[in-house]
Structures are given as structure tokens and as C-alpha cells.
């Protein structure tokens, strides 16, 4: 079974700093594999062990993205494909188009997996766009994925229900982070990941004639939560009393 996983190398939101005017210091910021992508990689690896096959990691990113690709390869993926472009400067639909082109080039794949959303932007648009662009059955927010022969059976986690949906293979799915616990690569896998094939593709090579598609984000500024940050320390009884008094004064306790 050939599985492709779309991965994003993202700025680490926990480590991101801002300057004195609140502008984000993105250049040279710490980066990592988008948090929930590991779940998608893990799920792909499970499909690979259940059905034997190969897992390809596909990402739109700068050369920095190879770090995340290597992490996924260390987890057990077999090869990586990097479409060289900076995702922070490329509009969502173009990102989906580039991924779709890379998927068509490297395919045919039996399954394409994505996370429910990237940890930096969290739009959740790319996976359904892939479904539309590639004309393949798409399951959003999968909490369970099973493939029996030529049929994919997926449990979708919706707000008020769990939906069991089926479609023929090949298919695309976005997975929720609750679907699995991503494995840790062993040290030996980390050391050997660099030896696995990693391909680089230029955007106009796979999507000819695609001019620039700038992101629709005009600007970004730090949001400071203007909270009072009053801290009570002392005995539990004292602190409890002060807390209740403060909340009563705020008018948020029930009458």
C-alpha cells in the first residue's frame, strides 16, 4: 500500500518571540514539524504495517523543512518529497495545488493523510481542497481509519456525532490528534533517516505557469491578553478566601 502524508514544517508557536512593537520575529525562529502532523505520519505507518507498503512524506517548505521530513523518516517513513516554497508566503489554495501536483507526480497513492490543521495557522482548508483537486473521496476529522481490501472505512469525529463513512481506495483523510499516539523514533532510526531518499521539486516544474500566489495575511501582531495577573499565595484557606472575594467583586459568581 502506498501512502502519502502531507506534513508542514512550522514555526514553533511556543518559542515564537515578538519585538517591542509586537511584530513577530519569524526570521530564524525555532521551527518544528507541525504538532498534529505526527499523528498523520503515525497513522500512515500503521497502515503500512497492516498492509505492507511504503510511506512518502510530502511537504511544501523551505530547505529547513528537511528537518521535519527527517523526523518523519526516522519514525519509519520511506522517502520524502520537498516542494521548495515558503508556506508562510504562499496562499492556502496554492499550497494545496502544489501538494496535489507532487502527489500526482509521485503517485498513484492508495491513501493521502493530513493532520486536522497545522499548529501555526490551523485553517484546516488544505485537506478538503486536496480532495477536490485530486477528485478523490475525502474524509475529514478521522478518528479511526481502516482499509479492508479496496474499501476504506473511516470514523469521522463531528461536533455532535460520530459518522462512519466508506469509500473505495484511493482516498484522502485528515486525522484528528486523538486518533493515535505517535511513536518515538529509536536513536538508530534517527541516525539512519538521513540515508533515505529526499527529493526536491521546484514549484514551476510541477505546476507550470503558476505565478506568485501571495498569502492573504496582510499583517500579524502579538495579542496581549490584558489580564490582571493577580496571584494569591498563602495558606489554602487564605488564598481561597481572597479568590472568592475577588471573583465576587468581579460579579462573576452566582447570586
Amino acid at each position: 500500500m502506498k501512502v502519502a502524508v502531507c506534513v508542514k514544517h512550522a514555526v514553533d508557536e511556543a518559542e515564537l518571540k515578538v519585538d517591542s512593537s509586537g511584530s513577530p520575529l519569524l526570521a530564524g525562529a525555532a521551527s518544528k514539524m507541525s504538532t498534529f502532523d505526527k499523528n498523520a505520519v503515525e497513522e500512515a505507518l500503521r497502515l503500512k504495517s497492516a498492509h505492507s507498503g511504503e510511506v512518502s512524506i510530502i511537504t511544501v517548505g523551505t530547505v529547513e523543512a528537511k528537518k521535519s521530513m527527517k523526523e518523519a523518516l526516522a519514525m519509519g517513513a520511506d522517502r520524502g518529497v520537498l516542494v521548495v516554497a515558503d508556506p508562510l508566503t504562499v496562499e492556502t489554495r496554492r499550497t494545496a495545488e502544489l501538494l496535489a501536483a507532487a502527489i500526482r507526480k509521485g503517485g498513484p497513492y492508495d491513501a493521502v493523510l493530513c493532520s486536522e490543521g497545522s499548529s501555526d495557522i490551523y485553517s484546516g482548508s488544505v485537506p478538503p481542497m486536496l480532495g477536490e483537486l485530486l477528485g478523490l473521496p475525502y474524509f475529514g476529522y478521522a478518528r479511526k481509519v481502516e482499509v479492508n481490501g479496496q474499501t476504506a472505512r473511516v470514523e469521522r469525529a463531528l461536533e455532535d456525532s460520530v459518522e462512519v463513512v466508506e469509500a473505495p481506495v484511493p482516498f484522502i483523510a485528515s486525522v484528528v490528534s486523538e486518533i493515535n499516539e505517535p511513536r518515538y523514533p529509536t536513536l538508530i532510526q534517527i541516525m539512519q533517516a538521513g540515508k533515505k531518499p529526499m527529493e526536491e521539486l521546484a514549484p514551476d516544474a510541477i505546476l507550470p505557469g503558476s505565478g506568485p500566489a501571495p498569502t492573504l495575511v496582510a499583517s500579524m501582531k502579538a495579542q496581549t491578553m490584558a489580564r490582571k495577573k493577580v496571584v494569591f499565595e498563602g495558606t489554602p484557606e487564605e488564598s481561597a478566601r481572597k479568590l472568592v472575594e475577588a471573583l465576587a467583586a468581579e460579579g462573576v459568581l452566582p447570586r
Binding site: K70, A74, Y184, L187, I190, M191, G194
Partner: protein, 389 residues
């Protein structure tokens, strides 16, 4: 904050310019694993509410024990300094697990250096994969620093040795599958491999320690404990030499472990000082607190550099016993100082919160264990005076 930090990375680049990228990848992954899986459970380990065996197993599965050993036995063949750095990170995540792991690895190192090909084949792969746990069984109730006075004996009877005596303060005792036991034959102290269970080997209760609460430490009793003669390591009478060699390497590791303890005590102190307010401002703005912070950081850095240096001397093949002892004496004493300052900075909370004072409690063992500071100072002076003649 990442356990394996940018500062670590920089140090690795300095000491290993060509290999640092690979080594840093390995340590980043280990560090990240420890942050997520071990660090959060560490308070419960110290409180006696969580057992370390499952965490240790996960670490073993990751490949923690493979780092410095040759690939032919299932090791990763990485430099000793990488292994030492890994133990530093583990010392930060949970010192008692680090202690348990480094003792296990000390036995693996002993086998790697002194065991026969048959013994290596039999024991090393499962030790390196962590399928079996080892225990370094040397110290006795009345014989610590002065190992030559050990009272545990091994009598040759036909094709067996029969071990008789007792050991004390043994880490991993009662949990381990393999015991590297030092006992005196007619020739002198010798080194034996005892598989557990063995009807002649029993264990005392887990000793109540001041710190390092996660690791099991107890007496080991040998009464008519029979082992086949193939389980003698090397030659009779060479046991003391083997133990010394093993301990030299282990001392670098203990130094690294203590740097890890000091690092987390330092981090917690700085975080506390930033938020604790007195006289209208965070205490981190007061000079006398800043003095402590400066001294703590300098001490941690010095400790780290010293164990790296000792590692590099070991890697070069030269006699590193003095450097290893220097690193151990310095770091263990340094970490006590750092942890003490940490308690001082954290004030009443430092004194009354287990999670805060545990670092000092954990560190307190290691000026004693694996070579007391007193004995090691004598070793250092002896070596250095011999060098300067």
C-alpha cells in the same frame, strides 16, 4: 524550555565539529522524549508514587543503552561524550532513573572491556537493547572505598564457584537480571556474572534514601550461591583492576548526571526569581539574587565543560582517570552548591516543596557513591604529581 538546548548544541559543535549535527539530532530526540515522558512523572517518582521500571524500559527501547557501544553488539558507536550528554539530560528529567541506567551501562561497559567473546555474545545484546537489566555489585557493608578488603568470597568447587557474603547499597538490586559481582577467590578479588534468579542470591528491603527515590537500592546476600565457572570474567584476581577501570568511565557519567541535576535546579530558580516579588519588584532584580544566579550558571557551565573534556580524553585513548575524577569531584560538589542556592532563592517554598528540594536530595548521594570525593582527591593528586615529575 527544551532539555537539550541551544547551548548544548553549541558545545557539541565545538567538541565535535564534524559529527555534531548527527549527535545533536540524537540528543534532541532523546531530550524531547524525556521532556514528554519522564519529566512530568518525575515528581511522582520522587514521592514514591510511580515506579521507574516502565519509564526505564521506554528509554531502553529508544536506544539509551546503545549509545557508546560498538555496532557489532547492537550499539550505536557514538562518542562517549554523546552518551555522557544523554545522561546529563536524563539527570535533568529524573536523577534516580539516570542513576539506575548508568549503573546498568557500567556493567555493559565492563563486559565490553573485559568479557570473553562468548560472554559478550551471551549478555551484551540483551543489555544494550535493555531486555535485561544489570547491577554493579561491588560495595559491602564494611568495604566501600577500600575495595581490597571485601569479605565476599568465591570458592572454586569443581566446575562451579560458590559465592558467600553480602553486598550493600547496590543500585538495581532485586530488579536486575544480571549481577556483576566482585568476590575474592584464593588469588584475589575477581569478577563474576550472576544471573537472577539464583537460589543462593537474595535481596534486602529497598533502603529508604534521602533522595534518588526512584532507584531500588538494597543489600544483596550470597549464601551458597553457585555460578558456573564460565561466569568468571577475565582472570581470577583481576577483579579490582576491572572495577577500577569501569569506575573511571562511570565517574565521567556521574559528573554529567550531576550537571543535569544542577541545570534543572538552576532553571527552576531563575523562573521562580522572575515571578516572586518582594519590595515591589521581582526578586530577580536584586543584586544578591543575581550574584547567586551568576555563580550557579558559571558552575553548571564549568561542570559541563569538565565532563566533556574528560570524555574527550577517554575517547583519545589516553589515561583519563585523573580527568574523570576531577569532573566527578567538581560536578558533584558543584551541584550540591547549586541546589543549595536554589533552595535559598526559592525560600520557604524551596524548603517545603518536595519537587524543589529533591534536587539537592538527589545530588547529595554522589559525593559519596562511585568514589568518595576524599578518595578521588587522593587519586587526582597522585596522578598529577606523577605527571609533573
Amino acid at each position: 524550555m527544551a532539555i537539550y538546548s541551544a547551548e548544548h548544541r553549541r558545545l557539541m559543535e565545538i567538541f565535535h565539529p564534524s559529527g555534531s549535527q548527527e549527535y545533536s539530532e540524537v540528543l534532541t530526540s532523546l531530550g524531547s522524549f524525556m521532556e514528554k515522558e519522564i519529566l512530568p512523572v518525575s515528581p511522582r517518582v520522587d514521592a514514591g508514587e510511580a515506579k521507574i521500571a516502565p519509564l526505564r524500559k521506554k528509554l531502553f527501547d529508544q536506544g539509551m543503552c546503545q549509545i557508546p557501544f560498538p555496532e557489532e553488539h547492537g550499539g550505536l558507536g557514538l562518542p562517549f561524550s554523546v552518551y555522557a550528554n544523554a545522561i546529563e539530560l536524563l539527570g535533568t528529567a529524573d536523577a534516580s532513573i539516570a542513576l539506575s541506567v548508568e549503573i546498568h551501562n557500567a556493567v555493559a561497559e565492563g563486559l565490553n572491556r573485559f568479557a570473553s567473546p562468548a560472554q559478550k555474545k551471551k549478555y551484551l545484546p540483551s543489555l544494550l537493547s535493555g531486555k535485561t537489566l544489570a547491577s554493579f555489585t561491588l560495595t559491602e557493608p564494611a568495604s566501600g572505598s577500600d575495595a581490597a578488603t571485601m569479605a565476599t568470597v568465591a570458592e572454586k568447587r569443581g566446575k562451579e564457584y560458590v559465592i558467600r557474603g553480602s553486598k550493600m547499597f547496590i543500585t538495581n538490586a532485586g530488579e536486575a537480571d544480571l549481577y556483576m559481582v566482585f568476590a575474592k577467590t584464593k588469588v584475589g578479588p575477581s569478577c563474576f556474572l550472576v544471573d537472577a534468579p539464583n537460589p543462593g542470591m537474595t535481596f534486602g528491603a529497598d533502603l529508604k534514601k534521602l533522595g534518588m527515590k526512584g532507584s531500588r537500592t538494597s543489600e544483596v546476600f550470597f549464601s551458597d550461591c553457585r555460578v558456573p565457572e564460565e561466569n568468571l570474567v577475565g582472570a581470577e584476581g583481576k577483579g579490582a583492576d576491572y572495577a577500577k577501570e569501569i569506575l573511571h568511565g562511570a565517574r565521567i557519567i556521574v559528573a554529567a548526571l550531576n550537571v543535569g541535576i544542577a541545570q534543572i535546579a538552576y532553571d527552576k530558580s531563575v523562573a521562580y526569581a522572575r515571578t516572586r516579588r518582594a519590595f515591589g519588584k521581582p526578586i530577580s532584580e536584586f543584586q544578591l539574587i543575581r550574584e547567586k544566579i551568576a555563580d550557579m550558571k558559571t558552575a553548571v557551565n564549568a561542570g559541563r565543560l569538565l565532563y566533556f573534556y574528560a570524555s574527550m580524553v577517554k575517547e583519545s585513548g589516553a589515561d583519563f582517570s585523573s580527568e574523570a575524577s576531577q569532573a566527578k569531584v567538581f560536578s558533584t560538589e558543584m551541584s550540591l552548591g547549586v541546589c543549595d542556592s536554589a533552595i535559598q532563592i526559592q525560600g520557604g517554598y524551596g524548603y517545603t516543596t518536595d519537587e524543589l528540594h529533591r534536587h539537592w536530595r538527589d545530588a547529595r548521594l554522589l559525593t559519596i557513591g562511585e568514589g568518595t570525593s576524599e578518595v578521588l582527591r587522593m587519586l587526582i593528586a597522585r596522578r598529577e604529581m606523577a605527571r609533573s615529575q
